[in-house]
Structure formats: C-alpha cells, structure tokens
C-alpha cells in the first residue's frame, strides 16, 4: 500500500466529494420527474471494486441512499461473480428491492471503472422514477400484498454492454410505465451523471496516480471508523431499549412494532431489532440492507462529524432477523418502505436519547405522506400529481424543532404551489402551518402543515402515510406532537379513511377537496420549563392556541397578559 501524506489526503477528500456532488447536481438539473429534480430523491458515489463498500458519497445526495447504495453495488458484484463477463463500458440497471434496492421506484445504474484493463472501482447512480407500473400510479399501493402489485421488477441487467445500448431493455422499461417519457428523461439524466463522474474521476486518477487514490480510499475508511469509535466511546456503556409502532400495514388494521435493544460497549455498538413485529402482509416491509442504511442515517444525524463511507459501520453489529418486517425477503411488498425507515430512525434516536439526553432530538414528524391524485383532463390526457409532504422536526437541547421540514431520510424540497397548479388541474385552497401540531416542551417541536387541495376534474385519491394513531414522541419530559389526519369531501361531508393514513379506492368529483394535516415534531424537556416569553410569542403568533397552552403548558389566562 502506497503511504499517503496527510495533506494529499485532505485535498483528495475534497476533490472526490466534489465529483460525487457534481454528479448529483447534473441529475437534479436534467431529470424529468420532480421527485428527483425538486425533491432530490437521488444519490451518487464511488464504491469499492471487490466489496462494494461506499468509498465516497456526495454531500447533497438523499441521506437514506448513502447507506443503501453499497448494497446495490454488492448485488452487481455478486452477479458478475456468478456470470463473469464484465467489460469496460458496461452499465447495469436494476430496481430489485430484495437484492440491494429500496423499493421498486428507485432505479440504480452501476458502472465499472477500469484502469489498464483491471476493475478499479464502481460508479453508481440512483434516482426515484415516477411510475413503474403496478396497481397504483406512482407505485405507492397501500393495499399491495406482493411486489407484483407494486410494479415491474428488474434484477441487475446490462443496459449497456461494452458501450452499446441494449435497446431491448429500454423498450421493456417503456412498455411497463404510465409515464415513459418521464422515465426516459430520468434515465438519460442518470447516464449524464455517470458520464460526467467517469470523466472527472479518470482525470483525477491520471493526475494523482491510481495507487495514491487507492491508498486515500483506505485511509478515508480507517478515519471514518476511528471517528465513529470515538463517538461511541463518548456514550455511557449500557443497554438501552426503545420501541415505537406503525399504524397498520394497510391490509389489517393492527399496529406493528419496531423495537430496538441498543448496547454500547466501549467503542462498539450493537443494534438488535429481534423484538420487532413479523413481516407484514402490506407494503411496509424493508430488507436487511435498508435497515442497515436507515440506522446509518439516524447515527449520522446525531454524529454529524463522522464522514459518509463504509468505515463508520465497522464498529457496529446489526441483528436483524428475517423473521421481522425489517429483514423481509421476496416477494413481500415494500413500496411504503419510507414509513418503516422513518419509524426505525425515530427508534434509534429514542434509544440514543436514553443513552445521552444532551445529544438527543425528539421524534421528527415521521411520515412521508405519499399522496397521489390522478384523473383525466378534458382532452382525455391522463394526469398524475404525486408528491410528499412536510412536517415538524423534534425539539432538541439547542432549539425548538424546525417547522415544515423534510424528513431525516431526505433533503427534498417541496414543489411550489404555482408549479403544481401550472402542471396539474388542481387548486390549493390552503398551504399553511398547523397550530398545536407540535409536541409541547421546554423546546417544543416544529409545526406540521395543513394542505387543502381542490381538483378541477374528477380524481382518484391514493395516500400512503402513517402517524395516524401514535404521535411522534417527545424526549426528556417533552410531549408528543399531533397525529396525522387526512380527509376528503363527499356530497355528505368530509370523510376519513378506515386505515387512517392509507387511502385507496377513493374518487372525488371536480370541485371537491382533500385535506392533509401533518404532525409536528415531539417536544424536548418538560413544558413547564419553557421560557414564558417564548410561550407568549407562540400564543401571539398562533403556533399554540390558548386551549393548548392551558392544557400542555399549564398557562392560565392571567399569564398571557
């Protein structure tokens, strides 16, 4: 191994991150569907030639993919190991959630980087495509009991063989979606990103030499491991348990538990999920790989200084039995994987809060609220508006939670109302913060939001959400936030779904509305400890109503003056 000086190492770190960042930016700018272009549901990086371990990730990519992408590359390595035949100019495509994927909408492209005829490392790109068939436009079928009802599944296949596009694959892709143009645009965007990454990375290798860059990769991993061990060592040894539930799986209205026993032993961490519920019938299962990735996201939000590469996972042992919904296999449905990982991240944050309240953050709002409205315009053309919605983050030792934030698994921005109204026959009648949605606390949670949408044509309504039954928790004496609520207009008045936040088979007529009210974040610290001026400000600005102030903060009317 070539020794590498600390200065070159620091310079290379910046150069390599820049390459991944630039790949991200290229895809955001050239993607067709707003889930990539606006919501940045994508990620790029460089991966180890033989292990597939993450070497370098972009700093802006979707956090959940940072942990998940290594498993995608491992799946390609396994295929090549079985079948051989890897050539420069090959590019693999797949979305199989059971071998290194997340859910079917996430399409991965994996491309080898060769140097002097030998595989040096892998470049990979992942992006969330709008629709890949299945029973429900957009793929979030809350009633799916098998993967086949969620969309078409691609194991790793060669999209390019030695630089030649395999048109058969493109044709199959186009034939299996409601939105072939959008997917074609996104696929090209991902190829743009890989092309660019390959050019930049080759130039960097030419400049520094393969051996130096290879040595840097090893050093980055060692360093991430050292930082992670230092972070774990700073926590008090012990076993900390925490659990939370999902409302239901969309099929049977019974809660599902995600339970964690977290053990800190010196500089090692054991995450044991054995006490979690069995695999579900409905689409809220996740694979072992996704579970590991989600834990990584939770830890990285707490230990922000640990860099994003595989080294930081070395001190951690995962116990994720296949008998739980966190280690599910084919053909268990997984479209709603976001809900499960959000709850899982909350559970990790909750367990860490037990270990060290001073680094704690109360629960984020914890649901993606994948809402799909679909109908036909007067000219017969189909429209599908699909979006995710925001909520509040948890209170923490420093500040109140952030209002109307994105989820911890994402850096997604929400499309503007005006963009949505220009693109789809909808009119938003409300887009505002939701009073009393935050958990009370010395530092309260951030507020959730209220979105009310009228459709100008008849429309089918689909929603895959959560937090309808058990609200985001507070920590250190802080209170829970509000529940998620969804309703739609009917001639008889407003209706709500039997599965609370999971809706399908609902149709509204032109001029009728749907209304989504999202949770805030949990509170941090006892509400009685909240600064009274801050509370009066909350009342003046309408974040907290007088009734809630009296109930949660014990504020009598006289105190308001």
């Amino acid at each position: 191994m070539t020794p590498i000086d600390p200065v070159t190492l620091a310079v290379l770190k910046g150069r390599l991150e820049q390459i991944a960042d630039e790949m991200d930016a290229t895809l955001y700018r050239s993607a067709f569907n707003p889930i990539i272009a606006e919501a940045r549901d994508a990620c790029h990086g460089l991966y180890h030639a033989t292990t597939g371990d993450t070497l370098v990730q972009g700093t802006k990519g979707l956090p959940i993919f940072v942990g998940a992408m290594a498993f995608a590359v491992k799946a390609v390595i396994a295929k090549v190991g079985r079948e051989g035949g890897l050539h420069p100019g090959d590019t693999f495509l797949f979305n199989d959630p059971y071998s290194g994927g997340t859910h079917l909408n996430d399409f991965r492209l994996v491309r080898p980087v060769f140097r002097d005829g030998t595989l040096f490392c892998w470049l990979a790109s992942v992006g969330h495509w709008l629709d890949i068939g299945g029973n429900v436009p957009g793929g979030y079928n809350p009633k799916a009991t098998e993967s086949f009802q969620e969309g078409v599944r691609f194991p790793p296949v060669k999209l390019f063989s030695a630089g030649h596009l395999n048109q058969d694959i493109v044709d199959i892709l186009a034939a299996n979606t409601r939105v072939p143009t959008s997917n074609w645009g996104d696929l090209n965007g991902q190829l743009n990103a890989l092309d660019l990454g390959e050019r930049r990375f080759s130039a960097l290798l030419d400049e520094y030499g393969d051996a130096t860059v290879d040595a840097a990769f090893a050093a980055f991993s060692d360093r991430a491991e050292a930082l992670m061990r230092a972070a774990i060592r700073a926590l008090p040894d012990g076993r900390y348990s925490f659990s939370d539930v999902l409302d239901n799986d969309g099929i049977t209205d019974e809660p599902l538990t995600i339970a964690l026993d977290l053990t800190i032993d010196g500089d090692r961490l054991v995450l044991d999920f054995s006490r979690s519920s069995a695999p579900a019938q409905g689409p809220i299962n996740i694979s072992h790989a996704t579970t590991v990735a989600a834990c990584y996201v939770a830890l990285k939000h707490v230990f922000t200084e640990v860099p994003a590469n595989a080294g930081c996972l070395r001190p951690i042992t995962f116990t994720v039995p296949e008998t739980t919904l966190l280690g599910a296999g084919a053909p268990k449905p997984m479209a709603g994987y976001t809900e499960t990982i959000l709850r899982l991240i909350g559970v990790v944050l909750g367990a860490l809060a037990e270990a060290d309240p001073e680094r704690a953050t109360a629960a984020p709002f914890g649901t993606i609220n994948a809402l799909s409205l679909a109908g036909h315009r007067a000219d017969g053309s189909r429209w599908v508006m699909f979006s995710f919605f925001g909520g509040g983050l948890g209170g923490n030792p420093e500040t109140d939670g952030l209002s109307h934030a994105n989820n911890p698994i994402s850096t997604a921005t929400i499309p503007p109302v005006e963009i949505l109204e220009a693109a789809y026959p909808v009119v938003f009648t409300q887009w505002s913060l939701r009073p009393d949605s935050a958990g009370a606390g010395a530092h309260r949670g951030g507020l959730g939001a209220v979105y009310e949408i009228e459709t100008l044509t008849d429309a089918d309504v689909f929603l895959l959400g959560e937090r309808g039954k058990v609200a985001p928790f507070g920590v250190k004496g802080g209170q829970s936030a509000a529940l998620n609520r969804f309703a739609w207009q009917t001639p008889e008045g407003w209706a709500s779904p039997p599965m609370v936040s999971k809706v399908t088979d609902v149709r509204i007529r032109a001029g009728e509305r749907v209304r989504l009210e999202t949770p805030g974040g949990g509170g941090f610290g006892h509400p009685a400890e909240r600064d009274r001026d801050a509370l009066k400000r909350d009342l003046r600005l309408g974040y907290v109503t007088p009734e809630a102030a009296a109930r949660d903060y014990d504020l009598t009317t006289g105190d308001e003056q």
Binding site: P6, V7, A10, V11, K13, R15, Q18, E22, R29, S30, A31, A37, E38, K60, P63, T181, W184, G185, G189, L191, R223, A226, L227, A230, H301, T304, E305, P307, P364, L393, N396, E398, G401, L402, S403, H404, A405, N406, P408, T411, T413, I414, P415, P416, V417, E418, I419, E421, A422, V427, F428, Q430, W431, S432, L433, A449, R540, L541, G542, Y543
Partner: protein, 688 residues
C-alpha cells in the same frame, strides 16, 4: 476641479475605499479612510473631501454593504405582508428544506412575524384567470391593521400573480391609499416569475430593506447636499451594473451583493484590458474566499442566491461562490487525524495568533507569517505595529505539528497547502467542472490576501497565470467607476415552443426591452450606447429545472425578428453544453423571458493607472529575506511593488510588497509588470 470627475466609493466593514477619476484629465487618485459603522455618511464624506471640494464632483457611484449587513444581522424594518387567503405561511414554510443535510437541530425565524402576515379573499389561477376578485376595502383594512401593529413597509404577494397581476395591482392601489409612505410593493412588480416562495421571499426582503436603505441613502443625499454636491449619485447592484438612487430606493434587494459585485466588474475590466478575457477572480478575506468566473470579459450571473437559511433573493446577481477559507481560518487536526483548515475562523477580532489579541489557535495567516511569506514587521492595514512570529509558531507546533508528527515548518507549509487545496477546489468548481479549460484562464486576486496564494492557484488548477491588479485593495471602488448601467427584468411566459406565436413573443420582447431601456436612460449617466439582451429559461416538457438560452437577437426597427427556429437552435446548443445528451422528439417549453438593458459606459483607459516613467527596478528593491518553499528556506528578493517599472521581470523566489497586499512569487514562477502596472505571474519560461 473639473466637473467631469467621478468617484467610486466602496464602503466595507473596516475601511471605506475610494477611487477618484478625472475623465477630462485622465487623472486618478485612490483613498482609504476608516468606515464609520452605523453612520457611514461620516467616513463617506471624509473620504470624498480628501479629493477636494465635494461640490466639484460630477458623479459618485457607491458600492454598499448596508443591505447585506441588514440581511445578515436581521436588522431590517418591521414590515407587513398581505397575501392570499390560506397562504400566510408560505414565507415560514419555505420549500420544506432543512438547514443541513446531516443534523436535525436548528429552527427558522422569518423576517415577518406571523401576526404581521394577513390574508385577504382573492384568487388567481395558474392560467391567469381571476377566480375571485380582490376587495379593495378588505385590503385597506388589512393595511391599516398592519400599520397599527407598527409595520413600516408593506409587501403584497398573491398566489399566481406572475400569471396575472390584476388583483395585486388593485390591492396595491388600495393599500397605497392608506399607507403613509412609499414603501409599498407587490410581488408582480418585483419579480413576475413563477414559484410563490421565491417571489414572496424576494418581495418581502425588498420591503425589509426599503426603510433601511432608504434612510441610508437619504442621509448620504443630505450630507452630499450640505456640501453643495449637485451631480449624479448612483448605486452598484448585485448584477454588477449601476442604478439610480431612485431605483435603489424602490428595489433595495438588488443591492444585496453590491460591494463584491463592483470588485468583480473591475477585475474583469482590468484583466480584459491586460489581454486576459478569461479570468477567475478571488477575494480572500478573513473568513472566506469568494470566487467568480469571467468568460470572454463577461461576468456570470446567477438567478438566485440564499443569504442565509430560508432568506432567498431571486434577482440576477454576479455569481459569487464562497468557501470557508480565509486568513483567519483555524487549522486543527480532527479526531480522525486529518488536518483541517476552517471553516471555523478567528475573524479579524481576535484574529490570528500573531495579532496578539488573545487567540491561541493557529490560522492560515499564522502559517503565512511563520513561512516568511508575510512581512511580520510591516502588517497590512497599519493598525498593528508588528506580528508575533514566535507565538504563531508555538500555536502551530501545539495544534498541528505535534498531533501530525511533523516539524513546525512542515506543519505550517501543510496548513498553507490544505488552504491552497480548498481555494483551488473552489476555482475548479466554477471553471473546469463547468467545462472550461483552465489553461485559458488566469486568476485575478483582489482584496488583501489573495496574492499570497497565486502560485498554488496556477499550479494546482493548471491556470495560465495570475494577474494581480495594481491596486488590489481598491478594486471594488474602481469597479464603481467603470461599471455599466444595467436593468434586469423577468417575466414568466409558460409557452410551448411547438405552438409558439412568434409575432406575439416578438411584441412582448420589444415591450420588455423598451421598459428596461427607459430605466437605464432615466439613470442619467453618460453612456456610449444601450444594448438590450434577451435570454429564455427553457426545458423539455416535463422537466422542472431550466437551462438559460441566450437569444442571438436584438431590437431593430421595432422588431427582434425572433422565430421558432432561432429559439430551437439556441436551446439545443445550450442544452448540449449543459448535459451530454439531447432528447430529440420531446417537446420544449419557454418558461421565462429575461431582458436586460445595459448602458455601456465610455471606455475607461486603465493606462492611467500605470507606473510613471520614473519607476525603476533599483528604486523598488528592498533587499531580501528567507521564505520557506517546498520544505526548505529560500532567500527571496523583496520589492516595493508600486515602484516597479513597466516591463520589470522578477524571477521567483520573490516577494512584492505594497501597502494593501503582498504578492508571493514561488521559486518556479516569474512575475512581470505589464503596461498597465499589473503584475502578471506565470510559470518561469512560459510567456504571459
């Protein structure tokens, strides 16, 4: 005193820099006086008086940070917002982002409190149809309520007002009737562009700045008047152009990057005149390094900038990328054993260890001092008598050398190299990574510190060379004097290219051009001509991001002659430059029309800045001192930079000193003084 004199005034945090230019005599003078924070008019006037009676000046052009500081320090006015029923929280909800990718702490306080954001019944749809007409009485009532609640300025922002401004227009009339001052503006008047958060944020921040910038300009006006000044007084905008104070009062949000923009303008002009049309400007300050790209003499404009989390301004601005590496950036070894420089900074107070003001953690400046690159006996700025080299050395030993197992000199060099790497990275981001060949670019450092690092910028990035302006410290003030007059407009169109009514688009472009031109003409500065440039924001149907498509047309005899074919061709060229693949067969769409009118200022002859005939190499020689390069001490020749004659050629290692900057010439580089007095640094043996 001749009435043709123009003065550029750049008011910074510490100093006010001035550049006086007598157009008739071709004579210039520079000035530097302390800024008077809070009452900038004092330093402003003191600086002007240094050139003689203020009454004799023909015009004054000002680069200001008053707007920037009010935004960064949240010291704008108490303002009110009237908006569409159901949408009072657009400003606070942002685009549902979060402060950092990693880490969930932190909150956000918008510049308008929720009880000062009132809703009225009104609604326009995306196609411009008015679904509900606004009631002027309701608006007037809301305005009165906001006034009672202490609002000093008012913003009116309705959903879809970009598509049809009628409801906003009616509302503005109703509000203005009850509002006691002129600080009332509607979003369609500020930014008729789709995206309600960005438009609301820009309109609200404009209102937030209106009373602050208005009162500041009023104060300056009165001060100038009291001195008998009767010339023109202008302000530099973030787009690098100049505007009248009347426009600045109406659109103060366009001053957000006024000061830095002027610097980039001057650097671009100097470099172009010196034969370097392609440059990357670099301003190394105490906490940050600001980089900007100039291609073929043209500065790059960004459509939008984020001042701080959630504070978005959408108006064309000179694109300035900032990284956290400055002279005060602190060097440390992290828990993973990696040397880091910044982003934490000791700033200018307490500043680097060598300032002796209480900081004990080593900074980039400390490393430069220990390596002999900065003259410890003659600190820049003049506030300190000398710099404490030993203290700097001890700090580097403790915090960097010991943990890394290096000796102190190697550690100091490592700090400089890591900082160089960050600066090179920032330059690479705006150049190579946008497809530009670094061999065609030169670095232009301005401000105090950039010239210390030109060698690394040349070698690490592979630049053609570096050009150090003759007066790096007054670059921004010079920029005020030479900047063109400019007015930018945007209008969202949302048109499909396939069904384009080119004649209707032509009429629209002509009208936009006319309106922009009028603003430039009203500014009243001498211009040699007024150019109008058009750009379309376009994409394939289905995409949300757009590419900027410059249109190769101008208004002649009342028409632009625009056709669908011209647009298609320009779009494909722009798309191919941005991405590797076109997507033939897919429809394309025009989202926005951008129009800029640019009043070109008369040519400024930079030869006026050149050293006089009396300059000589001998007179400039100050001796030599040991400077550490590449692991060893080298005896470097030291020169008084301003005394160097045209044509002087100085091989490295050498140090060129002047009151406001130090240029380091590495052993393998050579410095030459060009005919304008700039120092051009290139690899030894290569032509400039």
């Amino acid at each position: 005193m001749t009435p043709r004199a123009i003065v550029g005034v750049d008011v910074g945090g510490t100093f006010t820099d001035l550049f006086y230019y007598d157009e008739a005599a071709g004579r210039f003078q520079t000035g530097k006086v302390p800024s008077n924070r809070g009452d900038e008019a004092v330093g402003f006037l003191a600086g002007l008086k240094g050139f003689g009676p203020v009454a004799g000046l023909a015009s004054i052009v000002h680069g200001t940070t008053v707007g920037t500081n009010a935004l960064l320090e949240r010291k704008g006015a108490r303002i009110g917002l009237i908006t569409t029923r159901g949408f009072r929280d657009v400003l606070e909800m942002r685009r549902r982002d979060r402060r950092h990718t990693w880490g969930l702490w932190g909150d956000f306080v918008p510049v308008v409190d929720r009880d000062l954001r009132l809703e009225v019944d009104e609604r326009t749809l995306a196609d411009g149809t008015i679904r509900q007409v606004v009631d002027p009485d309701q608006v007037a009532e809301a305005a009165r309520a906001l006034l009672e609640n202490g609002a000093e300025a008012l913003a009116i922002c309705f959903v879809n007002a970009y598509a049809n401004p009628e409801n906003e227009r009616v509302a503005m009339e109703a509000a203005a009737a009850v509002w006691p001052n002129a600080n009332v503006e509607r979003s369609s008047g500020i930014l008729p562009e789709i995206r309600e958060f960005e438009r609301t944020s820009t309109t609200v921040l404009n209102a937030y700045l209106q009373p602050v910038v208005g009162s500041y300009l009023g104060k300056l006006d009165r001060a100038l008047e009291s001195e008998g000044f009767s010339g023109r007084f202008h302000i530099v905008q973030s787009n690098g152009g100049v505007m009248s104070t009347a426009t600045a009062r109406r659109l103060p949000v366009r001053t957000a990057l006024s000061g830095p923009a002027a610097g980039v303008i001057a650097a671009a002009a100097i470099a172009k005149e010196a034969g370097f049309p392609n440059v990357i400007t670099g301003d190394l300050g105490g906490t940050s390094f600001d980089v900007s790209l100039v291609v073929e003499g043209e500065t790059a404009l960004a459509a939008q900038t984020t001042i701080d989390f959630g504070l978005v301004i959408r108006t064309p601005m000179i694109e300035i990328s900032t990284i956290g590496a400055g002279g005060g950036s602190i060097a440390h070894v992290d828990a993973g054993g990696l040397l880091q420089v910044g982003p934490e900074s000791a700033g200018s107070r307490p500043g680097p260890v060598c300032y002796g003001q209480g900081n004990t953690r080593p900074t980039l400046t400390d490393a430069n001092v220990v390596l002999g690159r900065i003259n410890a006996e003659r600190p820049i700025g003049g506030a300190l008598k000398r710099l404490d080299v030993e203290a700097a050395k001890a700090a580097i030993q403790e915090h960097v050398a010991a943990p890394l197992g290096l000796d102190v000199m190697a550690a100091a060099e490592a700090i400089v190299r890591v900082a160089d790497g960050k600066m090179a990275g920032a330059i690479r981001l705006v150049s190579i990574e946008r497809g530009h060949d670094p061999q065609k670019f030169a670095a232009v450092p301005f401000g105090g510190g950039g010239a210390l690092h030109v060698g690394a910028l040349i070698k690490d990035v592979g630049l053609r060379g570096a050009l150090v302006p003759r007066y790096p410290g007054v670059t921004s003030a010079l920029g005020c004097v030479i900047a063109d007059i400019r007015h930018d407009q945007v209008q969202t169109l949302n048109l499909s290219l396939a069904n384009l009514d080119a004649a209707a688009l032509d009429r629209r472009m002509v009208a936009e051009a006319e309106a922009a031109r009028e603003v430039v003409e009203a500014a009243g500065l001498t211009v040699s001509r007024i150019d109008t440039v058009f750009e379309l924001d376009m994409h394939y149907v289905g995409q949300t991001h757009t590419v900027a498509v410059a249109l190769p047309v101008s208004v002649e005899s009342g028409t632009t002659g625009i056709t669908t074919a011209i647009i298609q061709e320009a779009f494909e060229a722009a798309y191919r430059t941005s991405f590797s693949r076109l997507l033939p067969g897919l429809g394309t769409r025009i989202v926005n029309l951008r129009t800029a009118a640019i009043g070109r200022r008369p040519h400024f002859d930079l030869a006026a800045l050149a050293p006089g005939a009396d300059a000589s190499l001998e007179a400039a020689r100050l001796g030599s001192r040991p400077v550490w390069f590449n692991g060893a001490w080298h005896e470097a020749a030291v020169y008084a930079r301003l005394a160097l004659p045209v044509g002087a050629e100085i091989p490295g290692p050498a140090i060129l000193e002047q009151p406001d900057a130090t240029t380091v010439v590495d052993p393998d580089l050579t410095a030459r003084v060009d005919r304008l007095g700039n120092v051009v640094v290139t690899r030894t043996g290569e032509p400039a």
